[in-house]
Symmetry: C2
Subunit: 335 residues, 2 copies
DNA sequence: GTGAAAGCGCTAACAT
DNA sequence: ATGTTAGCGCTTTCAC
């Protein structure tokens, strides 16, 4: 009696009148199985409600059938950033057609007893997508050493990292935004930056700076932000204090831009008449803001699906090239 | 030569000069191991860089060492709702002290080929936390049938569901909010509801309605929302059209409340002078809004950690009681 | 095309 | 306290 517990391949084979090997071949779509045998097995599977035991399979194939989405952030609020939530959902969706599970791995890489490194080194997953990488994280190192197929979503800061990545052209995006401001005749253009230990933060800052430099404008009006609304609001207040007559601001994320607009409103300034505001991401908040936010498109879903595609290639042992997606400015009411 | 591939328990045992069984006992913290032997094994583990093979272990223990966080929503934007992101992060954090992995399972339960049900029935995880349950989802049924330990975060709509849950007292929260509005002398109090096929949505609506009924006020000013900013803004517009002279609105989520405030501003109304606004959640957006939003506290982190605690109990085979956390009103500037 | 048999690495009786 | 032994359910040579 094998009737207790979940049915095994053995049960299926017995019921179909074939050997366990043949049953296994059917389950794994091996072509060399007589149609009649195949059908008998399929029927048995359906009748028994058979499901392969993942652990047993993994034990022999040495594959975990799962990929890790690594978020090297300790603060839970990262998820309220549409960038993270968008990528997480995008990755989940892109993986929906595969039998792969999404395992969420979150926390600071250096934290505690090195949980994250241990996990990544543990071979518990077949691949990894790293989402928000900071300069000092050195996750690329761990990944390189373990030869775990991996793709970064957002270029890793370290230039020596050899891990493939998918990113949006942050520099050009910032140039587009800033140039637009310059063309509108703005001359006192400030910026609220993202974290400078992340490539997205520093690339966007450089785009702003270079554009002002080329235009012969003052590029000293910069205040650091951290991509969060609170950080953006604080930066805006500092900016206003330093330079009450500024006439434009480029914020490195929509969340910060919207918060900055709030401060601007509170100070009695009109947008865009007194101060023009441009953000980055084209998040939902951009359309909802009033006036609607002019911003740079960050194609998050597309990046997520490209990252999954690259990872799948890597997992099949193929070499892949990093990809940088183009972007564009969406002009709405704020600038 | 066992030097190729990852070291196994066998290698560790050989190196430590003990049997595989003893090595296994050390790895699993079995107390009956002579200190000397234990140390030898520990040393061997360290020298070899041994990591237990999860699949092999799962195969015999019949445990997956992972729990599923189930999000029965198809739209990726759910993650931009601080409720989801907060719970997801909270669960992840609460599980950080355990060896359990978090597997993210997302999508509509009925979708496609029943991926989600199959997965849950597949025994791939040791437990599940279900986050945003809708009436027709029937996930509680699947869970009951498979006897997979599970806890709902947010009471399941179906009263017949026997799954333990953790929730905030949505009804009382709504009563608190509405009563406050009544006490302020507001008489034309509208509400923007959450989805009525979710308990949070319907409980908050009932709280509003009952309070107005008790106060002898008109309880007909209701427009459906869906917890999203866009939904909240649209509902506010409809409300304004129906009743231009309304003097207060209770929105079932902060995201909707903030969006509603935007519409109110756009229509030239002053908050709270012309119209008072109260939200629900006490999300970050509430503090950032201007004026800052008066709202009902939704103790998301606490709920997440309680849910994990209950789930762990269930996984140990112990019975647990559902928990309903109390809430309170935070008065800020909007009402 | 199919079956027999050998493990994958581990835990858990069962002896000792 | 420790070793021996028997699987867990599956894939995969290797014969036939």
């Amino acid at each position: 009696m094998t009737s207790r517990g979940a049915p095994t391949l053995e049960d299926v084979a017995a019921r179909a009148g074939v050997s366990r090997a043949t049953a296994s071949r059917v389950v794994n779509d091996d072509p060399r199985v007589r149609p009649a045998a195949r059908e008998a097995v399929m029927a048995a599977i359906a009748e028994l409600g058979y499901r392969p035991n993942r652990a047993a399979r993994s034990l022999v194939t040495r594959e975990a059938d799962s990929i890790a989405v690594v978020v090297p952030e300790s603060d839970e609020r990262v998820f309220s950033d549409p960038f993270f939530s968008g990528t997480l959902a995008g990755v989940t969706r892109a993986l929906a057609d595969t039998p792969l599970q999404v395992v969420l791995v979150m926390g600071r890489p250096g934290d505690g007893d090195g949980r994250m490194e241990r996990y990544l080194r543990g071979g518990h997953t077949d691949g990894a997508i790293v989402v928000s990488h900071h300069r000092e994280d050195n996750l690329w190192r761990v990944l390189e050493e373990t030869r775990l197929p991996a793709v970064f979503l957002g270029r890793p800061y370290a230039p020596q990292a050899r891990v493939p990545y998918v990113d949006v052209d942050n520099f050009t995006g910032a140039v587009l935004a800033t140039r637009y401001l310059v063309e509108q005749g703005r001359t006192r253009i400030a910026t609220i930056t993202g974290p400078q230990d992340m490539s997205a933060g520093s690339d966007r800052f450089r785009g702003w700076r270079e554009t002002l430099r080329v235009g012969g404008l003052d590029a000293s009006l910069v205040e650091p932000g951290d991509f969060t609304p609170a950080g953006g609001a604080a930066a805006m207040r500092r900016l206003l204090q330093r330079r009450p007559d500024l006439d434009a601001v480029f914020a490195a994320s929509d969340l910060m831009a919207v918060a900055a607009m709030g401060e601007l409103h509170a100070s009695g300034r009109k947008i865009p008449d007194d101060v023009a505001v441009v953000g980055f991401d084209d998040a939902e908040a951009a359309q909802l803001a009033r006036p609607p936010l002019t911003t740079v498109v960050n194609p998050i879903s597309e990046m997520a699906s490209r990252a999954v595609a690259l990872l799948l290639e890597r997992m099949h042992g193929r070499a892949v090239e990093s990809e940088v997606l183009t972007t564009r400015l969406v002009v709405r009411g704020s600038a």
